[in-house]
Amino acid sequence: MKVYRFTCIVCPLGCSIEVKVENGKIVDVTGHTCPRGQEWAIEEVTSPKRIVMSVVPVEGGALPTVSVKTAEPVPKDKIPKLMRFLAGLKLKAPIEIGRVVAEWEGIKIVATRGA
């Protein structure tokens, strides 16, 4: 049996969660105080995901970059590839906050600053 220990990142409470895995199957989750934490811990073992943020150069804006985030959490192992994709992006002002500025493997990239 394998035991994974995490600090939950769903909210600032930061519960210490333990997930027990036997033959690739989750047998027990303990330490969480809410269902969201439990769900997150299971996902953290089976397919961990993160929201990814970065900045992209923008031409003609008030600032030289616009900040972006993924509209949904991205599988952790795909993050380096996504970052390389973002590093190749160039945008032109005007950009309104909230606009989808690109899409990568079906994941929307959203501007989090205006430019």
Binding site: C8, P12, V52, S54, P64
Partner: protein, 421 residues
Amino acid sequence: MEPMPQIPMLSYDVVVIGGGPAGMAAAVKAKELGLNVLLLDENDYLGGILPQCIHPGFGLHYFKEELTGPEFASRLARRMVELGVEYRTSSRVLEIRNYSDLEKVVIFTSPAGVYQAWAKAIIYAAGARERHAFEIGIVGDRVAGIYTAGEAQTLMDVYGILPGKEIVIVGSGDVGLIMARRFALEGAKVKAVVELMPYPGGLARNVMILKDFNIPLYLSHKVVEVRGRGRVQRVKVVKVDENFNEVPGSEFWIEADTLVISAGLVPSVKKLKKIGVEIDPATGGPIVNDRLETSVPGIFVAGNSLLINDLVDYVAEQGELAAEAAKEFIDKGGIESRNWVKVEKGENVRLIAPHYLSGDRDVHLYLRVARPMEDVEVRVPEIGKRLRLPVVKPAEMIRLKLKAEEIQKAGEKLTVEVVGA
């Protein structure tokens, strides 16, 4: 006192100093309450540090959804514009003068020249400054490549410049941890996070970041020296014992081209000190009553100038509270003097604000503990109040709500203590 005739004069009900979340929330609220407001900020854009905090995690309490820093800032800025709040960026406050309770002057420079803004009340929301390398005892060469975390963040996340390739971070508070993730995501190698205390300084969820990127965390260690020619080349790290004394023979060098200092924030209160505002040495911010009014009547303070907060939501909440208080101050010609209930620090409470309570209204006390503890109660023995918490850490602010009727039960003072449950 006469106005200064040579400097153009403006007149307002309230001048808000600082265009970050505390200042913007204050300006919005003051305008909604019908006050004539001017907001000043020395940056060339609104938002304070938020536009550079591009990570998510903001706004869960205040806007009931998770936003990034720029998104949080833009909501407040948009509201300011909708309401027609007058604001000036690239405007630096030179001096505050306090002529009388309802006559105050803020002298500021702006691209259009120097002005004096008269106001009945001032809301001071100028934020905090970062502690720098010399302040934490790092010696060695004065070379390029030493930044505070905020400077590095501005370079990377506003101007799009990666500050270095091989980075050592001093301090494992939230800012240091979040910067570690940003550097790693952008392709820099974070060689170490060095923390003086025996435990990490940041929220547990941010400590997870280090695992995500396999970044080593050295607890009970400090950076003592930096060496390089022209640019940082290596930094010296040494282990410390429980009294923070260096352990002889434990030193080692880490090769790096960049040192990022994330050693905590200090409220910016210089201009308040100059006009005699009393400062609490524990918070580093002013001593305030439950209207967030300082010891100088009509000068209110909110956000990280009051005390270092860990959630922007609380900062915005303080801004609104200060605006409501300014409204009361202007309408009544002052905040009523009375026998305030004094808030005292008990067992394992390192700092707490506000310092004086009226009992007229419900209040949020913001406090931090001195050392981490598990399974505790936050207690106010004078009124029998108890709040049970699974864990407390110095990095995590505790927000304790007291109801007006509870405060009324206290005598001259109430003590807040954090003790084993």
